[in-house]
């Protein structure tokens, strides 16, 4: 982690579900608004941790809670999560800037504020990548098709 300078956001890795409407969190399906800071709000005891309702009494992330924007330190961990999430939807793996209150953990972070840094789409079209790039103003590329484990040779 490069959190030595408290003036510079931490950069972690996470995944999003990509829909026609934009980027969505894979756990709670919360929309990450384009060109707006994503603020974590705790709604402990409710169905989701991020919503338009007022915070439930504490600033996110709280050390005693599990609220906040989640990110990994290593790309491989985000990619592993993406593989578990592949169910027909387009998944984006990418770096995310994190700031505000940030809780560093062994393998990642929980943060108060966030915005995507860059994205790689697993699947999707050039048109979808272009639209996400334009809406969110971040670099977006498409991952090359995965090579089957037993392709070639033989």
């Amino acid at each position: 982690m490069s959190a030595g300078d408290p003036q510079e956001p931490v950069v972690g890795w996470r995944i999003w579900r990509v829909t026609g409407g934009g980027l969505r969190a894979t756990v709670w399906d919360t929309l990450w608004p384009a060109r707006e800071r994503f603020d974590a709000r705790c709604r402990r005891g409710s169905a989701a941790y991020w919503a338009d309702e007022p915070p439930a009494g504490h600033r996110a992330p709280d050390p005693g809670c599990d609220c906040g924007v989640y990110a990994f330190k290593r790309r491989e961990d985000a990619e592993q999560l993406a593989r578990e999430k592949v169910d027909g939807d387009v998944i984006a793996v990418g770096r995310v800037s994190l700031w505000g209150r940030v809780i560093e953990t062994e393998l990642g972070f929980r943060a108060e504020r966030a915005y995507p840094y860059d994205l790689v789409l697993l699947g999707g079209s050039d048109e979808l990548a272009r639209r996400i790039r334009q809406e969110y103003a971040v670099d977006v590329s498409i991952a090359p098709p995965a090579v089957p484990l037993h392709a070639g040779g033989g």
Binding site: V10, V27, Y70, G100, E106, V138
Partner: protein, 42 residues
Amino acid sequence: MTSKSLMADIGDPIREIEIEPAEEPVPAPLPLPEPAQEPVPA
């Protein structure tokens, strides 16, 4: 996948920090579209 399992994925807390960047890494909003103007008769 729940926040509980995600919490397990990222491990135990190490420390808490406050990061207040001089400039937040959020791009400027798109300019509003120009209002449609009806043609003015000559």
